[in-house]
Assembly symmetry: C2
Amino acid sequence: MKRVKCTIAYDGSDFSGFQIQPNKRTVQGELEKALAKMHQGKKVRLHASGRTDAGVHAVGQVLHFDTALTLPPHKWKRALESLLPADIQVMLTENAEEDFHARFSAIEKEYRYFVLNRPEPDIFRRQYIYHSPYKVDMEKMQQACQVFEGTHDFTTFASAKSTAKGSKVRTLSEVSCNKQGDIIEFVLRGNGFLQHMVRIIVGALLETGTGRRTPNELAEILAKQDRRYAGKTIPSEGLYLWKVSYDKQPE
Amino acid sequence: MKRVKCTIAYDGSDFSGFQIQPNKRTVQGELEKALAKMHQGKKVRLHASGRTDAGVHAVGQVLHFDTALTLPPHKWKRALESLLPADIQVMLTENAEEDFHARFSAIEKEYRYFVLNRPEPDIFRRQYIYHSPYKVDMEKMQQACQVFEGTHDFTTFASAKSTAKGSKVRTLSEVSCNKQGDIIEFVLRGNGFLQHMVRIIVGALLETGTGRRTPNELAEILAKQDRRYAGKTIPSEGLYLWKVSYDKQPE
């Protein structure tokens, strides 16, 4: 058996998230259907760097699977693409070391969140960028970003319904925001993310930008370790799993 | 009865075109459903500047309808928007003169066609821009645009299946193209367009850009008045009904 590493992009709009579920259209479901077709109907289980929720996009999701087929790596890309729907794109396929694991070998993930910040919405981008018409103070928001960098217990900024057990301590190496034209781009990089974490943090940052909260308040509620203190989880359409980094690139 | 003029945008991706058809999701169907809700279930027939095909978008489609309701114009916008799906947006509602007609009063229409001209497709814009990976000579293409400006019989560049009777002579006041970054924008303005005309013309222009045809050849096949001489109708996802102009703005 050979292990194949695969980097994919997907448009999350029409998926019930990444993870396979019965009777739902999922990214994993479509990928495993394509892999089964390539393996005479035999199920091939794939492993991704992590799940993404319904409506969340990816430009650099990474996954691996094991196969008895001996295609050269670039042929995998072509073969899979010919079997996948138009909303999943294969960016890169590579041979991986046998101890490579898309989830457990990952050392850092990067998410980006895009906000269209102008009075009118854009009907053609409604599934790809979150519309917020309110004026924001970028400097205040950049200041607030600092609150989240470093190692913290992120209970306040994660879904209370999360089934994940264990520590909610994570380390974020970058939390930043920038505005170009009428688009605000948030970048969050870290060693791990809890469910809804990016969307709750960016929501809180936007509240700071519009003056509804101060950076100090964010530090206070972070310390409380209680989801009820943070605001709403903002919508999935602005969120992209941007990149997954591995400590050693497979050959 | 009062006549209301309404300017709308729509994302054509999930519509079987503008015109109402039984058991299909159409823009007109959704609009008339919303109007019926506002009129106690009574059917209100609307008239648009023209149809658009499945997958074609609009940023400035214009329509009118007659109503016994006496809402101020800006309230129409709000009321309709609250009843319409997310892929139709009401840009403007105005009171119209009683002799205003969205189709017959129109003096000029503008269409734009967008091409993503780079090797890799963009999965997030696949429904909003046509991907052509081939290198194009913009100067050649701009030269070829001139062939279409002015008054011509456009039989060669219109659907042969078109049911429209009568003359296929139309006058185009502008045919131009421009490239910014990796996006080519085509602008076509004229007093009328035949079915598929923009998509067949832009397809022929791209063929000139990639060197498969010369501007002279385009002039020759235009003169032949025979659809078989032109190439394929390129896909609808790049096409936008941009603007409809009326000789007198209704008050």
